[in-house]
C-alpha cells in the first residue's frame, strides 16, 4: 500500500483536475444567474444537448474536434432563439415564471433527447491523440482528463478576458451589477440578456462535449450534474467567475480526499462543506451582491 503522503498527493491532484471540471460545469450557470437573475434550470439539459450533438456529429464526420467546434455553437444559436422568442416575453411577468419556464425547457429537452436517441446511454472514446495515460512519477493520470482541465482553465481565462478587457464585457459586468443603470445609459438591456443567455448556454454545451469521453451520455445526464453546478454557483457567489473556480476546486478536492478516507461520504461531504461555508458567508466565497 502506498504511504499516506503519496496517497494524499494523488487525491489532491485528482481533486484539482475534477475541481476545474466542476468549475467549467458551473461557469455558464453563474453567468446567467448573475446577468439575468434567474437560476437556469435548463443548464443541465443544455449540457446534455451539447453532448448528444457531439455524438451525432461524431457519427456523421468521425471527428471529435469538429464536434467540439460545432456542437456548442449550435446550442448557442438555439438558446438565443429560445431566449428571444420564449423567455423575453416572461420578464415583465416575474422572475418566478422565467424560472419555471427554464425548468419546463429542461424536461422538454430531456424527453426530446429520449425521443431522438433513445433511453439507453452511450460511451465516447477520447480522441486518439489524447488517449492513454501520462506518467507523473508517483502515478499515471489519464491524458484526456488533463486536457479537459487545461481547456477549462483556458475557457475560464478567455471568459475573464472577455468580461474584464473588452467593452462588451464591461457592459455585461455592468448589467450584472445594475441593470437599471445600464438601461438608463441607453444600452439595450434585453439584447444583453439574449447574448448573455446564449453565452451561458454555449459554456454549458461545451462542458457537455468535453465531458462526454469522461462521463458518457445518457438522457438524465443533465439532472445528474445540475446539483453540482448549483453548488459551484452558490458557493462561489452568484455571477462571480473567480468564485466559480474557487468553489469548483474546493468541492473537487473535498470529494477526492473524502473518497480516499471515507468512500461512502464522497457526495454528502460536498454539500456539507457548501452548507458550512454558506452559514458563515451566505453570499458565497466571492459574492458581493
Amino acid at each position: 500500500m502506498p504511504d499516506l503522503a503519496a496517497t494524499v498527493t494523488i487525491q489532491l491532484f485528482n481533486g484539482l483536475v475534477v475541481g476545474m471540471i466542476y468549475a467549467l460545469i458551473g461557469i455558464g450557470l453563474t453567468l446567467i444567474l448573475g446577468l439575468l437573475d434567474i437560476p437556469n434550470f435548463a443548464h443541465g439539459a443544455l449540457y446534455a444537448l451539447g453532448a448528444y450533438l457531439l455524438l451525432q456529429l461524431l457519427g456523421l464526420t468521425g471527428s471529435f474536434w469538429l464536434g467540439l467546434l460545432i456542437a456548442p455553437v449550435v446550442v448557442f444559436i438555439l438558446s438565443m432563439l429560445l431566449e428571444r422568442l420564449l423567455i423575453r416575453p416572461l420578464y415583465p411577468v416575474g422572475s418566478n415564471y422565467v424560472l419555471l419556464f427554464t425548468f419546463a425547457v429542461s424536461v422538454i429537452v430531456q424527453e426530446l433527447i429520449i425521443l431522438v436517441w433513445g433511453p439507453v446511454g452511450f460511451s465516447v472514446l477520447p480522441p486518439s491523440i489524447l488517449a492513454g495515460s501520462v506518467e507523473l512519477g508517483l502515478f499515471s493520470y489519464p491524458r484526456y482528463h488533463i486536457f479537459v482541465m487545461l481547456v477549462s482553465v483556458a475557457v475560464i481565462l478567455a471568459l475573464w478576458l472577455l468580461l474584464e478587457r473588452t467593452r462588451y464585457g464591461a457592459i455585461m459586468r455592468a448589467g450584472i451589477e445594475n441593470k437599471t443603470m445600464v438601461s438608463a445609459l441607453g444600452i439595450d438591456v434585453y439584447r444583453l440578456f439574449t447574448l448573455g443567455f446564449g453565452l451561458g448556454a454555449y459554456l454549458a454545451a461545451l462542458a457537455g462535449v468535453l465531458m462526454a469521453p469522461i462521463r458518457g451520455l445518457m438522457p438524465y445526464m443533465g439532472v445528474d450534474i445540475l446539483p453540482f453546478a448549483f453548488v459551484v454557483v452558490a458557493l462561489g457567489g452568484l455571477g462571480n467567475i473567480i468564485g466559480a473556480i474557487a468553489a469548483g476546486l474546493i468541492i473537487g478536492v473535498t470529494q477526492s480526499l473524502t473518497t480516499q478516507f471515507w468512500p461512502q461520504g464522497s457526495t454528502i461531504t460536498i454539500f456539507a462543506v457548501m452548507a458550512a461555508i454558506l452559514l458563515i458567508r451566505p453570499q458565497g466565497l466571492f459574492g458581493a451582491r
Partner: protein, 418 residues
C-alpha cells in the same frame, strides 16, 4: 444586502426541492395514467403488477423489464386458468417510499394480487413488507440476500441466484482462467445488494485463497469515480471486482478504462445486467472485463432460445438480465397458478414452494424453506473488438455455477405462516 442574498438563496433551494418533487409526481402520474380501468375489477380478472423503475437511478431498465413481462404474458395469451390477466404497470422511481405507495394503490384500486419487481434491492425490501402485510404474492430478482434470508416470509420469492452462489461462481471461474490473481480490490455500491455480495465475496474468497486488499463503498448514483479508481489502483491488486449496477457500473468501467486499468489488468463486474450495461460501453472499454450475471442471451436451454428469438424479432436486440428476469418471474407465477389450478394467493404460494422443473435457465427449483430459487449463475469474458462477430457479440459464456448457500449461513429462521 446580506439578508437579501440569504432569502434569495433559500428561495432558490426551496423552489429546486419543490420542482424536483413536482417532476417525480408528474412522471408517476404519467405512467399510472397509462393503465386503464377506474374502480374495482370484475372478479374474473387476474391483475398482475409490474413495479418497475421508469425514472431515477435505474431508469434505463424500466422499459426492458416491461418488455420481458409483456412477452411472457403474450405467450400465455394474457390468460391463465381460463381467466384474463390484467397487466398493471407502475413507476417506482427507484425509491422505496414511491414504490410502497404505488403498490398499495395498485392493490387498492386494481385489486392486484401478484407483484413482480421492483428492480432495486433497497426498494424490494420495502415492497416485500407491503406484500406480507397485504398478503399478495411478491416475486423479486435482485442481489439482496435478505429476501430469502432474515427478512423471509411466505409472500416473497427470490428469482435471482443467491449472492453466495454468485460470489462462488465468479471467484471460482475467474481463478480457473487467471490462476495467479489472488489479490483483489473491491468497489461496492453502498446499499443492500452491494453489502450482500461484498460479504460473500470476502467469505467465499477465503475458501479460494483470495486476499481482499481493500473494499470501498460508493454512494448509489455516484458519477465521479476518479478518486475511487486512484485509490484502488494505488493498492496494486491483481484484479478489481466491482459490485454495482446500471449507470454506476457503466461509469466506473469507463473511469477505470480512462485511467488505463483495462485491458492491461482485469476488471470484474460481479453482478451485471449483461447486455443492458455492456451495450453502453465501447468495445475498447470492455476488453479484459469479466462479467457475472443472472442471464445471458447465449444460454442454451429450449426456453431461453425461444425467448431470445422472440425478443430479438420483436425488439431488434438481444435481452439482458432485466427483461429475462421479468420474463422468468412472470412465467413462474403463471406456472404456479396453473399448477395450483387457482388464482388464490395461498394456493399459488403452496404450488410454488418446492416447485422443480426445466425453465428459462435450465434446471430450477424453489426452496420451500427460504423461497430462494436454486438455479445457475453465469460468468462471461468480454470479447476484444476484433473478436466480435456482430454488434451484440459482447462476450463468451465461459462458466456456470449453482452452489447453493450453505444452510448454516442462511438467515431465514422461520418463513412463517400464510
Amino acid at each position: 444586502m446580506k439578508e437579501v442574498t440569504r432569502r434569495e438563496f433559500l428561495k432558490l433551494v426551496g423552489t429546486a426541492a419543490g420542482i424536483a418533487g413536482l417532476e417525480s409526481a408528474a412522471f408517476g402520474c404519467q405512467v399510472a395514467g397509462q393503465v386503464g380501468g377506474p374502480g374495482p375489477q370484475p372478479p374474473q380478472e387476474v391483475p398482475m403488477l409490474g413495479i418497475w423503475p421508469f425514472t431515477g437511478a435505474f431508469a434505463d431498465v424500466g422499459p426492458v423489464l416491461d418488455r420481458g413481462m409483456s412477452l411472457a404474458l403474450e405467450e400465455w395469451g394474457y390468460k391463465v386458468i381460463g381467466r384474463p390477466i390484467k397487466y398493471v404497470k407502475r413507476d417506482d422511481e427507484t425509491k422505496a417510499d414511491t414504490a410502497t405507495r404505488r403498490v398499495e394503490e395498485a392493490i387498492e384500486t386494481e385489486g392486484v394480487k401478484y407483484v413482480i419487481g421492483p428492480w432495486s434491492s433497497g426498494v424490494a425490501l420495502a415492497v416485500s413488507e407491503v406484500a406480507k402485510r397485504r398478503k399478495v404474492l411478491h416475486f423479486f430478482s435482485g442481489g439482496t440476500e435478505d429476501i430469502s434470508g432474515k427478512r423471509c416470509h411466505r409472500y416473497s420469492f427470490q428469482w435471482a441466484a443467491h449472492a453466495y452462489t454468485a460470489a462462488d461462481t465468479v471467484i471460482k471461474t475467474f481463478l480457473r482462467e487467471n490462476p495467479g490473481a489472488k489479490r483483489w480490490y473491491l468497489l461496492i455500491a453502498d446499499y443492500a445488494f452491494g453489502w450482500s455480495l461484498e460479504k460473500y465475496l470476502k467469505l467465499v474468497g477465503e475458501k479460494y485463497g483470495v486476499q481482499v486488499l481493500g473494499a470501498d463503498r460508493h454512494p448509489l448514483g455516484e458519477r465521479e469515480f476518479s478518486g475511487y479508481v486512484s485509490k484502488a489502483v494505488g493498492a496494486r491488486p491483481d484484479v478489481v471486482a466491482m459490485v454495482n449496477f446500471g449507470q454506476d457500473a457503466i461509469q466506473a468501467v469507463r473511469t477505470f478504462y480512462n485511467f488505463g486499468w483495462q485491458p492491461k489488468q482485469p476488471l470484474i463486474m460481479t453482478w451485471s445486467a449483461g447486455v443492458e450495461e455492456l451495450v453502453q460501453l465501447e468495445p475498447e472499454m470492455r476488453e479484459n472485463v469479466w462479467v457475472g450475471t443472472n442471464f445471458y442471451y447465449t444460454i442454451d436451454t429450449p426456453v431461453a432460445r425461444e425467448f431470445v428469438k422472440r425478443y430479438r424479432e420483436k425488439y431488434g436486440e438481444p435481452p439482458g438480465y432485466a427483461p429475462a428476469a421479468a420474463y422468468g418471474m412472470t412465467r413462474l407465477v403463471l406456472r404456479g397458478i396453473e399448477k395450483a389450478k387457482s388464482a388464490e394467493v395461498p394456493d399459488v404460494i403452496q404450488a410454488l414452494e418446492g416447485w422443480e422443473g426445466e425453465d428459462l435457465l435450465g434446471k430450477m427449483r424453489i426452496d420451500p424453506r427460504t423461497h430462494q430459487t436454486l438455479r445457475p449463475y453465469f460468468f462471461l469474458r468480454c470479447k476484444k473488438k476484433s473478436e466480435m462477430k456482430d454488434q451484440w457479440d459482447f462476450a463468451d459464456l465461459i462458466g456456470t455455477g449453482d452452489t447453493p448457500q450453505p444452510r448454516e449461513l442462511n438467515g431465514c429462521q422461520d418463513i412463517g405462516s400464510l
